[in-house]
């Protein structure tokens, strides 16, 4: 199921037809810094891939590039297999105002934007979807609670619920477990596995290599450029990890 093994990813002439996200010698960056260089490969439908690498490896930039928030400096990114456009994306935390006076339920409901838009009312079907999402993340009774009263773990669950409302086929998560307790991490990881079982494509940026080895069949090891991309056992070798650290150290500034 992998597209490439070893130090450099191979450049296939044709990608497998199940590819959902295709990258063709993509370089991403901004102003004067190139964060990701010459990345080629693809994410297949129904795959569960972890993106790992040292700090400053360009992982977040890669996800944002795929989401279209950053335009590639070179190469092409093709995203297909999505009925309504872009995949569902959870950026790194810290982007939103936690003290905003909104109830948890209203916050999660924002996830339905693509169907409801700025003006349309919430149909009963929508409301049911909302309830189900809240239940799935374990926040079933938290609907009326103001967002500002949620703990870190509860907030993360709410973010997951919001993401689920997209009802997308592809999910991209950027460090979703970074500031969260063990129990919440386990619960949410179970949810991710559930999505994957329903044939959703999931890409997650992580730091916890133990979790990656346990749960993720595919891994992309990134260090400003592709170090290895393929099945987790073959990618997360000590040599690859050492190489990745070495590559990033020079680039760090």
């Amino acid at each position: 199921m992998g597209a490439g093994v070893g130090v450099m990813a191979a450049r296939p002439d044709t990608y497998s037809p199940a590819a959902v996200i295709e990258l063709e010698e993509v370089s991403l960056g901004w102003r004067d810094k190139v964060a990701v260089r010459d990345l080629s490969g693809c994410f297949e439908k129904g795959s569960l891939t972890a993106v790992v690498g040292p700090n400053g490896a360009g992982k977040s930039t890669l996800l944002r590039g795929i989401m279209g928030l950053v335009s590639p400096l070179a190469g092409r990114i093709r995203v297909t297999g999505e009925s309504d456009g872009t995949p569902a994306f959870m950026p790194q935390q810290g982007g939103f105002d936690r003290s905003f006076p909104v109830s948890t339920r209203d916050f999660v409901a924002m996830g339905a934007w693509r169907r409801v838009g700025p003006w349309r009312a919430f149909s009963s079907a929508e409301r049911q979807r909302l309830d189900e999402a809240m239940q799935a993340v374990g926040l079933g009774d938290f609907g009326r609670r103001p967002l500002s009263t949620l703990s870190g773990g509860q907030l993360q669950r709410a973010l997951f619920a919001r993401l689920m409302l997209h009802d997308a086929d592809t999910y991209m998560l950027d460090e979703p477990f970074s500031a969260v307790d063990r129990a919440t991490t386990e619960d949410l990881m179970d949810l991710v596995l559930e999505w994957n079982r329903c044939n959703k494509t999931v890409v997650v940026v992580l730091h916890d290599l133990e979790l990656v080895r346990r749960c993720f069949p595919q891994t992309l090891l990134l260090a400003g450029q592709c170090v290895a991309w393929g099945s987790t056992d073959e990618v997360l070798t000590p040599e690859n990890l050492h190489l990745a650290r070495h590559l990033c150290a020079g680039d760090y500034l």
């Binding site: 989401m67 928030l69 950026p91 105002d97 905003f100 006076p101 109830s103 700025p118 103001p146």
Partner: protein
Amino acid sequence: MNSIELLYLPFVEFGFMRRALVGAVALALAAGPLGVFLILRRMSLMGDAMAHAILPGVAVGFLTAGLSLTAMTIGGMITGVIVALLAAAVARLTPQREDASFAAFYLVSLGVGVLLISLRGSNMELLHVLFGTVLGMSDAALLLVAATSSITLLVLALIFRPLVLECMDPLFLRSESRMGPVVHVVFLLLLVMTLVAGFQVLGTLMVVGIMMLPAAAARFWAVTAIGQMALAALVGAFASFSGLLLSYYANLPASPAIILAAGIVYFLSVTFGRQGGLWQVAKQARARSLRLSRIPERN
């Protein structure tokens, strides 16, 4: 004459009291929700800055056409919009943040406004425009305030969802839709429009008061954004009503009296508000220390 009659008799007896009430309440209904959004976006001082930024436009309108409502409104709108757009552009295209760029532009605007006014000598008519005449509102002024408020409330209702998102999680909005910058600009336009209409009622110095004080007070009572907006509008309306009564019975000048009333409500809210008011905080602290002091007893 019982005390209830004291509350409504002045309005029954005098037309100018009724007009003042209508004008001030209409303004408060629109200004309150706008103020809530300013506070939520951490732009609380922007309202005051924007009021000063509008000054040269009003001055130019006055210098070219005298005390013409249309001229001053158009002038104020133009300068307000220019300053807002320039500040936003500078913030987006350069490393400078929006609050700093806005400060720079509005100060330039204010300087130009003061210069223009002093060119024509100390012109009392213009100063009266700047201080407002809530007690002498003409039909045209009343119409302007009512129309502006209606439009503002309507547009706010329309863009409520994207506006909330844009305040709260702009990155999320950006990934879902391209409405973000549009909504931001529309909000600024509403702000300018309400301030320009509010000049006629309360003058430039006080109009920001009716925008920010009720909104700041509402935070201590309401939990949701919508709740805060509704409460801010009500508080503003109540402040207008009681401020006018204060002006009538205690012989105080009218627009400061309204702002004073709003200020009193604010201080009461800070003290007794159920969402983080001082009294509430003290009660919770006491309860907490009581709980903690009981723990050794359980062992």
